[in-house]
Amino acid sequence: MFRLNLKIAIRNLYKNKVYTFINIGGLAIGLASCLLLILYAQYEWNYDKQYRNSQNLYQAMINFKDGNGNITRTIDLTQNVMLESLKGDFSEVLDGSRVTNLYKRLISTKENSLKLNNRYVDADFLKLFNFKFISGNSINALNEPNSIILTESSARKIFGKTDVVNQNIRFENQAELKVTGVIKDLPTNITYGFETLTTFKLYENLNVWPKKPNWGNHDYYTLLKLGDHTDINAFNLKLKGYVGKHYPNAKEEVFIYPLTKLHLYGEFANGKSNGGNIKQVQLLVGLSLGILLIACINFMNLATASTQSRGKEIGVKKTMGATRTDLIFQFMIESFMLTFISILVSIILLEFALPKFNQLLDIEIVFNYLSPANWILICGVFIATGIISGSYPSFYLSGFNAIKALKKTLNFTNGYSLTFRQILVIIQFSFSIILIVATITIYKQIQFINNKPIGYQSNGLIEIPHEGMLYQKFNLLKSKLLSSNAAISVAQSSGSLSSKNSTTRGLIWDGMNESDKLIDFDQIFTTYDFLKTSNIKLLYGRDFSEKFASDTSAILLSKTALKLMRLNNPVGKTISYQGDKRNVIGIFEDIIWDNPSKIVPPMVIAFADISDVITIRLNPKESLTKSVQTISDVIKEINPNFPVEIKFIDSLNEDKLKKERILSTLANLFGGLAIFISCLGLFGLSSFSTTQRMKEVSIRKILGASVNELMILLSKSFIKLILLAIIIALPIAYFIMDKWLQKFELRTSIDYTIFILSAIFIIAIAVITISLQTYRVAKIKAVDTLKYD
């Protein structure tokens, strides 16, 4: 029986090629996206869970409080003394390490120099994470201050091989280090990844500030290993008031948080976790399940719509003594077979999609064919999909009355009542419409932010890090660049134009009131030519100039700063800035320094020789590639120990909206897929129903109906469903997207044009899809159909 059923199923699939294609195509896409997103969820879920001690690792976090004791902010950075202090006071803390932020450090050997992502950590870092050492060992690899641990691939980058223990490395042009260990490359789904690891001791030796015990500054991550079965809540209770004991002025509380939860639940409000990356995971998993559901609905719809052609078979089988179970089993076999073929296709699709997906989300997922877990996953998805898509048709079709099935009196459109199948179509299209609205809204928001004037001319602007010999020879660099004709202006500054890196408060000016003390000003330090280089527009006054010696203690204010400070005739006034008297010599137009979706805060540009970045305006008359080549030659010549890193301000600014762009791409992709699969289904469904109405159409034709009238007649019932879907979906879409937009301080509005556009779009697509079928039937020769009936 099983074999015969299988054979019949195959013949059926072969006979109804269009139907088969629609089902397999839709299901394969749905399954591929489902598998992809499950892999992604798995990847995110395993974040920081790969280590032997993962379950016992915690991070110290700080809750800041305001005067009333309410928690205003939660940060993951702690003081340099936190670790020692906690270890001394609490026996629960077994080991721990301070960890610095990831930072590109200059690594050089005789042959090679390059920058790699480095962290400074305490020696016990190796007790927290059991890295796999290829050479060297975890016991003493970081005991000597001048040790460095490399990952396998960074060892290859530096030396071209991995067998490099005891080799020497010059670090930041400041210290001689010895390689004490090479470890296997780290997975990408860990929070504290790195390419090279150096000791905190070295950090203290190279810099002044880390060494001095300090309860005021929060600069380092503190990771802790606690004993098994430590009650975290009880421990956190013990930590209440802990910082205050050491630092009476402190308005903050330290608490510990499991490292394994940090990635997915790392966002805090009022000191409580309120999500984090888990939101993105949920969003993507929801989307993929939606797509799979749409594909399953196609299967259900098409299978039940084939009622008429299967009716006879069902009827005959019933008279031969087939039980309902036999028939359910048979239809389930068909469903599972389609799902099986679709799974095979989806694995191929998955292979094509994975690299692109990894690139988009900047992650690293591979589908391991040897892992039994993956095959269990696939089997799970296979069975679930087969059952979901097969269940309704099986029960529906097997329940036919034999007589009616044989007499062909089964019909499924009676009056205006909604059948289950119609409800399924409405669900499909509602989902698609929501995705269309989302796509348009996200696009509109990105455009809205992009169209905001940035305040300077980012095109043709590049930046390089200010480092090494470039400090001493800045003026030489500047004159060489200008004389080379590749650049028309060069300036130094304390930070990049593209990213906010410093704020200050406590400016004092005449006429201020008490609350003004709390205004945070963005601040950037520079010397000469900064405005000229960036093309920031000057509204009043002038830029810093070498002609005025007093300009070395001058300051520029932004338009917003001027407004908040309520200064009349600001140019020439003196304000107090960080304890120094500063002369206001100019007012400049606001620039977008931070995330462009935020309200622009006030800003000051102060004269000071503090510099991390050199900004260069390229000569617009020269070719871009030539200028960049010239500039890097000049830099290389002046600062030979450092690799040249040229960045375009334009592309740095682009990166700010990366998250939104990813979301936009995903919405586009999934929206497109949802619409495509829904339309496949609609195509199949309209094909069945119009074929069933062939006789009616023929009779109407004889009575004088035109092709147009017939097409309208045939399309009407479907268009009705689409309209219903629109009515249902638009409020939902509005609700979802309104909530999404609330994230942004500056946001576009969702107006009715978005809804109209989406509605028109979906109706147009649906009409085209249906017309492919209705036209065929409406053009049919009446006599051919009637002859056979």
């Binding site: 015969l4 006879k312 005959v316 089988k317 019933k318 031969m320 087939a322 007589i403």
Partner: protein, 230 residues
């Protein structure tokens, strides 16, 4: 074998009963070959459907092999289909996706007949109906008469005690129809299979042993064929 007592079938719409069958009472014995005749809409097919338990009478008793089947549960009914009843349809109703061989095999699979037994029975039927060469063809590759032969072979595969045929030759040309009728007669005489057919044709009815004439849902005549022929 079959006993009908006071069978009635009606549909009510808007409070009015539309009778299809009224007071049908008859007995059909093992080995009979009965033709149900009558004008269109007389209720012939409904009667056959009730006999085949495809429809339930609104009123009355129906005993099949000594068992009251008026309200038989699904499982028991399916048992009867598997073991005792074979259906032959006017439009053949072969399953398009199955070959001739598979069509004949299907009821045996439901009956859970072992594979070697299955093979020999099918071979036997193919042989007997002279369609061995056609066994791998699909229904749409056969003529109407051949399709009906397959339909009958299928009905016989499960070795039923009764065959219910709804206008088995209605779609066939007269030569083919004659062939089918001779086959029925032979099955009835040689194998002792009870046959009940619905037919319009007097000529076809003459192959049987008894004729039930129905008009407006009521059995008008119940005659032996040999009496007619005399």
């Amino acid at each position: 074998m079959i006993e009908l007592k006071n069978i009635e079938k009606y549909y009510s719409s808007k409070g009015i009963k539309h009778y299809v069958l009224r007071h049908v009472t008859t007995t059909i014995k093992q080995g009979e070959f009965v033709s149900i005749m009558g004008p269109s809409g007389a209720g012939k097919s409904t009667l056959l459907n009730i006999l085949g338990m495809l429809e339930e009478p609104t009123y009355g008793d129906y005993e099949f092999m000594g068992e009251n089947v008026t309200s038989l549960n699904e499982r028991k009914r399916i048992e009867l289909y598997r073991n005792h009843i074979g259906f032959v349809f006017q439009a053949y109703h072969l399953i398009d996706e199955m070959t001739v061989y598979e069509n004949i095999e299907a009821p045996l699979l439901y009956k859970k007949v072992g594979s070697s037994e299955r093979a020999s029975r099918i071979a036997n039927l193919l042989d007997r109906f002279n369609i061995v060469a056609k066994k791998d063809l699909f229904p749409n590759q056969l003529s109407g008469g051949q399709q009906q032969l397959v339909g009958i072979a299928r009905a016989l595969a499960a070795q039923p005690s009764i065959i219910l045929a709804d206008e088995p030759t209605g779609n066939l040309q007269s030569a083919q129809a004659e062939e089918i009728m001779q086959l029925f007669q032979k099955l009835n005489k040689e194998d002792g299979i009870t046959i009940i057919q619905v037919t319009h044709s007097e000529k076809n009815a003459e192959y049987g042993s008894r004729i039930l004439n129905i008009a407006d849902g009521v059995v008008k005549d119940d005659i032996r064929v040999e009496n007619v022929l005399k």
